[in-house]
């Protein structure tokens, strides 16, 4: 008997107390809330991101390119990785050298390591937990892009922000590789005190794009 068969047989023997007619598939009853509102969605997201020591700027849609350029200039980022599908008007005003990456023509890990930062969009953001989720869709690219460069500048549109985790889970496609990012990389391994900045980007800067007034 293969180990697969042996394990499944042991599982079935262990569950002899479970009635044979108890269904394995069922509709789960949901009793919990969709979110735990603590104020206007964008305000909550901004507060939670700041809590994680991310840098946050509220900008209007027509100002994304200018604000991105300003952020990159403050950082002194001259060589910036850009994923496919990123709106040209976000990156072009920067005046930095743009390093285009794609699955077909990927930058090497060394190229990514040598870059000064990366500019991406996101798929979904969760206000309550200060979480930005990338799914590899347009303007987000391969997972390595938001990982290896030490600086991540991320553009989050107001219409991508939900209040709570359950709402985000419903919007996401598990077939895509997902990265949930809540602040810059951090550790609590030394005396359980949180220290920002380990292996992932040590600086996360967010442009939160509000609808035009």
């Amino acid at each position: 008997m293969s180990s697969r068969e042996a394990i499944l047989a042991r599982v079935r023997a262990a569950l002899s107390d479970v009635p044979a007619d108890e269904p394995a598939r069922r509709e789960r009853e949901r009793t919990h809330l969709d979110s735990h509102a603590a104020g206007p969605t964008l305000d909550v997201l901004e507060n939670r991101l700041v809590d994680y020591r991310a840098l946050v700027h509220r900008v209007t849609a027509d100002r994304v390119g200018a604000e991105a350029a300003a952020a990159l200039a403050r950082r002194g980022a001259r060589r910036v990785v850009v994923p496919p599908g990123l709106p040209a008007e976000w990156a072009e005003p920067a005046g930095a050298e743009l390093l285009a990456d794609s699955r077909r023509a990927p930058l090497s890990v060394r190229d990514l390591d040598a870059a000064d930062g990366v500019l991406t969009a996101c798929a979904v953001a969760v206000a309550e937990t200060g979480t930005i989720i990338l799914d590899g869709g347009p303007g987000q690219g391969r997972r390595a892009l938001s990982l290896v460069p030490d600086y991540h500048l991320c553009v989050v549109r107001a219409d991508q922000v939900v209040d709570g985790v359950p709402q985000a889970v419903r919007l996401l496609d598990p077939a895509r590789p997902l990265t949930w990012i809540s602040g810059p990389s951090a550790t609590s391994d030394i005396e359980l005190n949180r220290v920002e900045g380990v292996h992932g980007p040590r600086t996360l800067e967010v442009l939160l794009v509000e609808p035009a007034p």
Partner: protein, 479 residues
């Protein structure tokens, strides 16, 4: 560069007696467990009544999954395979180690990077790889500290919780050079500097290693998705940059559907690190062309789990999502530390999981169900409502049912080691209603004796007498 092992550790009462004598250990543990307890309390409190609903749902999802584990295992296998992954089944530690070693050898690599994983610690994978000439590099900061120090993990979430910053600095200065990039000569014990040293030490390793080994926090049956929660980005490095990824996952880690994560992604971060969300969570489903590892292997591990499943009372231990809230709240763990439990799973959950997984065949395992005062704090904080005291009592019945009085002796010895002081008495009396009968009647009389195993309490900013006097003065002022 050998890895330490729990094999040959003394039983809990003996180990605990030694541990409580270590004042530095006591200080480190007290500081760390109280920090995390407070943080957890705040972020759990934020969710108000909804926490209880999430907890009940989390418990129900896990219970349901376990009751139909065969169905969900087959579904997971099918989903992962469909998405381009390869699924392997391992009955025990030896088989899992053989499978993983073979998979690494097939890549032709002799170095692998590892994401912190309880399952691979449980099977002592690093030792098996080493025997095959393969070096496994731990990349989680606390795991790195333990590996460099040739130490043993003492906590599920923070394996180096027993060490303070100055001890970590010494280990980095002494040992990093032997494993790769050395620590900077002027390294201080500032946690920022220590984290920076870890970044520099592992950077090159991440960029060039072609094979990684991980565990998983969850494996989703319907979508075939694996989920890893972490903080530092070392997990992302291992899950993203290498060509080959091997994940060793206990069969109890399954959840039925993707939507179940809406519950667990709220329960786990708040219970474990006391954060609203951990810095990074990665999810992947099989292989994504052009993004991340192009070869993915899932090793499903039994190693005693089906024995636990067969016990209708003890089965609930398999609901555990490894948050470690029960360790952080436990008055016994706070005083003895994790090493005393003689297992990679310490604390209250370890006291019920380890003896069931290993089968209570040894003195160490027979003593573990007694490593508790039955105060119930672990049950209160458990995000999936595992009734740990119920299982402890159930396992004690099993030990005594075998005619072993060793257990009873262990109980009394353990109680003596942990509670042999007036200071402990007060703390434990508040916490441990059910344990009152265990506290020895005769306590050592001298202050010198009890400070051997106790920390002097924090001195309050104002004495009671002063406070009382101030209160009278205020009244006389007519305020």
């Amino acid at each position: 560069m050998s890895s330490a092992t729990f094999l040959g550790m003394p039983p809990f009462p003996e180990a605990a007696r030694t541990a409580v004598q270590d004042s530095r250990l006591r200080h480190n543990l007290r500081r760390a467990t109280h920090t995390i307890r407070d943080k957890r309390g705040l972020v759990v409190g934020e969710l108000g009544d909804d926490w209880a609903r999430l907890r009940a749902e989390g418990s129900e999802i896990k219970t349901h999954t376990l009751r139909h584990l065969d169905h969900y295992l087959e579904q997971l296998e099918e989903s992962v395979t469909r998405a381009g992954g390869h699924v392997h089944w391992a009955s025990d530690a030896a088989e899992a180690n053989r499978i993983v070693t073979g998979l690494v050898q097939a890549t032709g690599e002799t170095d692998v990077v590892k994401v912190k994983s309880m399952a691979t610690q449980e099977i002592e994978l690093n030792n098996a790889l080493e025997a095959a000439g393969i070096t496994a590099y731990e990349t989680d900061l606390a795991e790195l500290i333990v590996q460099l120090g040739e130490d043993l993990p003492s906590h599920i979430l923070v394996p180096a919780i027993h060490l303070g910053r100055s001890q970590i600095r010494e280990i980095f200065l002494d040992r990093m050079a032997e494993w790769g990039t050395p620590a900077p000569p002027g390294l201080t014990d500032d946690p920022r500097a220590l984290a920076e040293a870890a970044r520099a030490h592992l950077r090159e390793r991440f960029l060039r290693t072609r094979t990684a080994i991980s565990g998983a926090n969850f494996a989703v049956a319907d979508s075939g998705t694996l989920v890893v929660l972490e903080s530092e980005g070392n997990g992302r490095m291992c899950l993203t940059l290498p060509q080959t990824l091997i994940s060793v996952v206990g069969i109890e880690k399954i959840v039925p559907t993707w939507s179940d994560l809406e519950v667990f992604m709220q329960l786990l971060p708040r219970s474990s690190t006391g954060e609203r969300m951990n810095p990074y969570t990665s999810t992947w489903t099989g292989v994504t062309p052009g993004d991340g590892p192009q070869e993915f292997h899932l090793v499903l591990l039994d190693n005693g789990r089906t024995d636990v499943l067969a016990d209708t009372v003890g089965r609930q231990a398999l609901r555990c999502i490894r948050c470690s809230a029960c360790l952080n709240t436990c008055p016994v763990y706070e005083r003895t530390g994790g090493h005393s439990y003689g297992s990679v799973y310490p604390g209250p959950i370890g006291a019920i999981l380890t003896p069931q997984l290993r089968g209570m065949g040894s003195e160490v395992d027979e003593a573990l169900p007694y490593a508790s005062s039955l105060c119930g704090a672990c049950y209160e904080v458990c995000p999936v409502a595992i009734d740990i005291p119920e299982v402890l009592v159930h396992l004690r019945e099993e030990v005594t049912g075998r005619g072993g009085h060793a257990g009873e002796k262990a109980l009394m010895a353990g109680a003596e080691a942990v509670f042999s002081s007036p200071g402990a008495l007060g703390a434990v009396q508040r916490a441990a209603g059910a344990a009152r009968s265990l506290v020895p009647r005769h306590l050592p009389g001298t202050a010198g004796a009890w400070t051997d195993t106790r920390d002097v309490p924090d001195v309050p900013a104002e004495s009671f007498r002063r406070w009382w006097k101030g209160r009278d003065d205020e009244r006389e002022d007519g305020r």
